[in-house]
Amino acid sequence: MKYIAYFILCLIIWFLLTARIYLENIVAGILVSGITTLFFGRYFIEGVGKFLEPKRYFWLLVYLIMFIWECIKANFDVAYRVLHPAMPIRPGIVKVNVTIRSEFGKAILANSITMTPGTISVDLIGDTLYVHWINVFTDDPGKYSRIVSGRFENLLKKIFD
């Protein structure tokens, strides 16, 4: 089942990349996607039935809008810290617990954290995420987990779990 989903995904990317639909192109696309699926299909995510549930796409859209907004904020934040003559940074690595079940969800959460203001994810061990934070202004673990991962975690749970 997951091989079929992976094959279709590969085919969609192939057609986006070539942007032409005629016979040779379709045959080449099927061939290339087939070979890719043969080698890398087993690394694809489990539970591909989730692709067919429409409400997940709705939350994905909400997540994307929120993500782009956070991303733009992150850039102004970095630009401010970089251009400020005194460089107002207080860096450190903090520990955050994640509650998402699915592996892919965890990966996307870590990636989102990397793109949001002031944080990059360093490592994920089990359910604990280690995050390098450029401006550690509080020592309270509950408070900073909410700031670092709370923005996305609930949304990503709706999408992937």
Binding site: V78, M115, D123, Y130
Partner: protein, 114 residues
């Protein structure tokens, strides 16, 4: 209209790329430099790709530019993670002004798998 959007996006993109480069030079250690390199350069490059989409529409160029955005998002974030983790494992300490390091404890507990 699409021309205005094109110039606006490409200008923003180059500006953010520039901020990323300034950050790369000014910030004190490898982890802080990764912050600026990842965020600013990714959004800057995404803006440049989006500007191509605005200029050429959903034809050949535009679609490829659109495809670059998710690829860049995944690769640059994963690369940042790999670089940060790799440099920590290689023994590069945090900048002396750092206030907190929870990872050092985890580092001691975790068996190194090769």
């Amino acid at each position: 209209m699409s021309d205005i959007l094109f110039y606006l996006l490409i200008g923003t993109g180059i500006l953010f790329d520039l901020f990323g480069c300034i950050g790369l030079l000014r910030l004190p250690d490898v982890y802080n430099r990764l912050q600026s390199a990842t965020k600013c350069v990714t959004l800057g490059t995404c803006c440049i790709a989006a500007s191509l989409l605005a200029r050429y529409g959903l034809a050949d160029f535009g679609l490829k530019a659109l495809l670059i955005i998710p690829l860049l998002f995944f690769t640059s974030t994963v690369a940042a993670h790999a670089l940060a983790r790799g440099s920590y494992k290689a023994g590069i300490r945090l900048w002396k002004g750092s206030v907190k390091d929870d990872y050092s404890k985890a580092e001691a507990n975790e068996p190194v798998k090769e």
